[in-house]
C-alpha cells in the first residue's frame, strides 16, 4: 500500500510524488486499453455488421455467425483444430514428462542434452516449417532417403495426403515445443522435496509406484501450466501451417487462424472473419481467464 498519502497543506513536490506512479503507469495502461480492449470491442462490433472488403457499420445482427456456422470450410477448420490440439497437447506432455523424468536420473551429459531438446523453441515457426516441409516431402525427403538406402517399398507421403496432412503439422509442432514442456516438468521435479521420496523408498515403494503415486501427483501445477500454454499455442497456430502446408492440400490443414485470415483479407468477407476471431477469443478466454484469476488471487494473499 502506498505509504505517502495526501496531507493538506503539503507542498507541490510531495503531491507530485503522490501522483507520479499513476502518471507513469498511465501510458502503458492507455496503450493496453486502446490497442487490446478497444480493438476487441471493435472487432466484436464488426462481427455484427455486413463488412466486406472494408469495415462497414451496417448492423446485421447474428447473420455473420449464422453464415460462419453454415460453412463447411469453418467446420473443417474446427475439426482440424480438435485433432491438432488434442494430439499436440497429449504428445508434447507425454514426451516432455518422459524426458524430464529421465533427465532427472543423474544423467551424465545433461548439460549437453537439455539445450539440444530446447533449441527448436528459439526458432521461428517459418524456419521449422521450411525444414519439415522438405523433410516430409516424399520426392526428396525421408521417403526418398529410405528408398535410396534400400527400403524400396517405404512410403511416407502424409504431407500430400488430404487425410493425413494434419498429422504432419502435429509432428512439426511437437518437434518445436516438446523440449519446452520438458523444461517445465524438470523445474517441477527439481522443486520436489527429496525427503518425501526418501521416506517413500524406505517404506518400500517401487520406482514405478513412487512416480505414479507421489511424483506425478506433485507435478499437478506443471501439468496445468503445460496444458494452458499448449492449448493457447494450438489455438493461435498460424505461422507453422502457412510455412508447412499453406492450409492444403485443398483445405486439409486449414485451422481457425488461417480461416480468419483468408476470409478477412483475401475473400473480402470481413464480417465473417471478425466473427471467427471472436469465437477464437472466447475459446482462449474460457481457458485463460480462470487460470489467470486463480494465479493472481493466490499471489494476492
Amino acid at each position: 500500500m502506498a505509504v505517502a498519502t495526501v496531507r493538506p497543506g503539503v507542498d507541490w513536490r510531495t503531491r507530485l510524488q503522490d501522483v507520479l506512479p499513476k502518471l507513469v503507469l498511465s501510458p502503458s495502461l492507455a496503450l493496453i486499453l486502446f490497442f487490446v480492449y478497444g480493438f476487441i470491442l471493435y472487432t466484436v462490433f464488426l462481427s455484427f455488421t455486413n463488412s466486406r472488403m472494408l469495415p462497414s457499420h451496417d448492423w446485421v445482427g447474428l447473420a455473420n455467425y449464422r453464415t460462419l456456422w453454415g460453412l463447411s470450410h469453418w467446420h473443417t477448420a474446427l475439426a482440424n483444430l480438435a485433432i491438432f490440439a488434442s494430439l499436440y497437447i497429449v504428445i508434447c506432455t507425454a514426451i516432455g514428462l518422459m524426458l524430464a523424468i529421465f533427465l532427472d536420473q543423474k544423467i551424465r551429459g545433461e548439460g549437453v542434452l537439455r539445450p539440444i531438446y530446447l533449441y527448436p523453441m528459439a526458432l521461428s515457426f517459418i524456419v521449422t516449417g521450411t525444414a519439415w516441409k522438405w523433410f516430409l516431402d516424399p520426392g526428396i525427403g525421408l521417403e526418398n532417403t529410405m528408398r535410396l538406402w534400400g527400403w524400396e517399398t517405404f512410403t511416407f507421403g502424409w504431407i500430400k495426403d488430404r487425410d493425413m496432412a494434419i498429422y504432419t503439422i502435429v509432428i512439426a509442432a511437437v518437434w518445436q515445443t516438446s523440449g519446452f514442456v520438458m523444461a517445465m516438468f524438470l523445474a517441477g521435479l527439481r522443486g520436489i522435496d527429496n525427503e518425501i521420496l526418501k521416506a517413500a523408498q524406505i517404506d518400500g515403494a517401487s520406482t514405478w509406484n513412487l512416480y505414479r503415486r507421489i511424483v506425478i501427483p506433485l507435478l499437478r501445477p506443471a501439468f496445468l501450466s503445460a496444458f494452458v500454454i499448449l492449448s493457447h499455442l494450438a489455438i493461435k497456430s498460424y505461422d507453422l501451417v502457412i510455412a508447412l502446408t499453406g492450409g492444403g492440400p485443398g483445405r486439409a490443414t486449414e485451422l481457425p487462424a488461417t480461416f480468419m485470415y483468408s476470409y478477412t483479407f483475401t475473400r473480402n468477407q470481413m464480417g465473417v472473419g471478425a466473427s471467427s476471431a471472436v469465437i477464437m477469443l472466447m475459446t482462449i478466454a474460457a481457458i485463460m481467464v480462470p487460470y489467470l484469476y486463480a494465479e493472481l488471487r493466490e499471489r494476492d494473499r
Binding site: 521461428s124 525444414a131 523445474a187 489467470l292
Partner: protein
C-alpha cells in the same frame, strides 16, 4: 496453484544456477539406465536431425539435392546458396536476397525490445512498490493481453496503422510489438521486484529520495538478470513474429520471416532448395546465437512466461 513458490526459475532464485541439480533419491537398475540413455540419445537425434539436414544441404549444389540423398554429406561444397540467399535471391518481384529484410528486422527489433522492456520495468516497479487500490485488476488486464489470439486485433490494427500513416513501415511494427509485449515485460519485472524488500524503498523515501531516484538508484542496479530475461524473450518473440509482419508490412518493409516465407513458398520455376535452407538458417541465426550465448536466461524467460502471477 502457486507454481511460483516451488519453481526455482522464478523470482530471486534467478541469481542461482539455472536448474539446481540435486541428489535424486530414486535408484535405478543398470538395464533401466541403459534404456534411459538410449531414449535420451534418440530424442537428441530427433531434435538435431532437421537442422542438421538443412545445414548440410545448404552447402550442396542443387543437383546433388534433387538427384541425391538428403542425408549424404556434400560431394562438392559450395557457399553459393548462402550468397544467393543473402543478396541475390528473388523475394517477391525483386532479386534482393534476404539482406534488406534482415535489416528491417533489426530496425524493428531493437527499438521494440528497448521500449517494451523499459516500460515493463517501470510498470513492475509501480505495481509492487507503489501499490494502489485495483492494481491487481490492472495487472490482470495487462496479463490477459499477452494471451489473446491476435486475429482479434488484426482488422482494427490495420486501420489504425493506416490512419497514423504507419502502414507498411518498420515503426508501425515497433508500435505493434511494444503494445503486445508489454504484458510479458510487466509480468517479469513485477514478479522480480515483488521479492525485493519494500523496506529499502521506504527507507530511501524517508531519506528524501523521489519516485525516479529510487527507480534509478535502487531498483535498476539490481535488475540485471530480469532485464536479460525480458530482453531475450522479447527479442526472440519479435524476431520470430510472422503474423504481424505479414499483415502490416508485406512489401519492402517486411521483416525477415515474411521474406523467408516468400522466398520458400512463392518461387516460380526451379525450386532452389539449397538457397531456401541457407535463407532459413540466416533468418534463424540471430535467435540461435542469443540462445547459444544466453540460453540459461532464455529458458528462464520461457518458464516465467508459463508461470504467471
Amino acid at each position: 496453484m502457486s507454481t511460483l513458490s516451488q519453481n526455482p526459475l522464478a523470482g530471486p532464485a534467478l541469481r542461482a544456477a539455472p536448474v539446481p541439480s540435486q541428489e535424486t533419491a530414486v535408484r535405478t537398475g543398470r538395464v533401466t539406465r541403459v534404456f534411459i540413455y538410449l531414449v535420451l540419445l534418440l530424442f537428441a537425434l530427433f531434435y538435431l536431425l532437421p537442422f542438421f539436414i538443412m545445414l548440410i544441404n545448404s552447402v550442396k549444389p542443387l543437383g546433388e539435392i534433387t538427384g541425391g540423398n538428403m542425408m549424404a554429406l556434400p560431394r562438392e561444397w559450395t557457399v553459393e546458396p548462402w550468397m544467393a540467399a543473402w543478396s541475390t535471391a528473388q523475394i517477391g518481384v525483386q532479386p534482393t536476397g534476404l539482406r534488406p529484410y534482415f535489416i528491417n528486422s533489426i530496425l524493428m527489433v531493437v527499438p521494440a525490445v528497448a521500449i517494451s522492456t523499459l516500460l515493463g520495468a517501470l510498470n513492475g516497479y509501480i505495481l509492487t512498490k507503489w501499490r494502489f487500490r485495483g492494481d491487481t485488476i490492472l495487472f490482470g488486464l495487462m496479463l490477459f493481453a499477452c494471451f489473446i489470439p491476435f486475429q482479434i486485433v488484426l482488422i482494427p490494427m490495420a486501420r489504425t496503422l493506416g490512419i497514423l500513416g504507419l502502414a507498411g513501415t518498420t515503426w508501425g511494427l515497433v508500435l505493434v510489438h511494444v503494445v503486445y509485449g508489454l504484458g510479458f515485460t510487466t509480468l517479469y519485472f513485477r514478479n522480480y521486484y515483488a521479492a525485493f524488500p519494500t523496506e529499502l524503498v521506504r527507507a530511501a523515501q524517508i531519506d528524501g529520495a523521489g519516485f525516479f531516484r529510487i527507480f534509478w538508484r535502487i531498483m535498476l542496479p539490481v535488475s540485471g538478470p530480469i532485464a536479460v530475461v525480458s530482453i531475450i524473450w522479447q527479442f526472440t518473440n519479435i524476431w520470430n513474429d510472422f503474423l504481424f509482419g505479414a499483415s502490416f508490412a508485406a512489401g519492402s518493409g517486411a521483416p525477415v520471416t515474411v521474406a523467408l516465407n516468400n522466398l520458400v513458398n512463392s518461387s516460380t520455376g526451379v525450386r532452389e532448395y539449397n538457397v531456401h535452407f541457407a535463407g532459413a538458417i540466416l533468418a534463424a541465426l540471430p535467435t540461435l546465437l542469443v540462445y547459444i550465448v544466453a540460453g540459461r536466461y532464455f529458458v528462464r524467460g520461457l518458464m516465467a512466461g508459463s508461470v504467471k502471477g
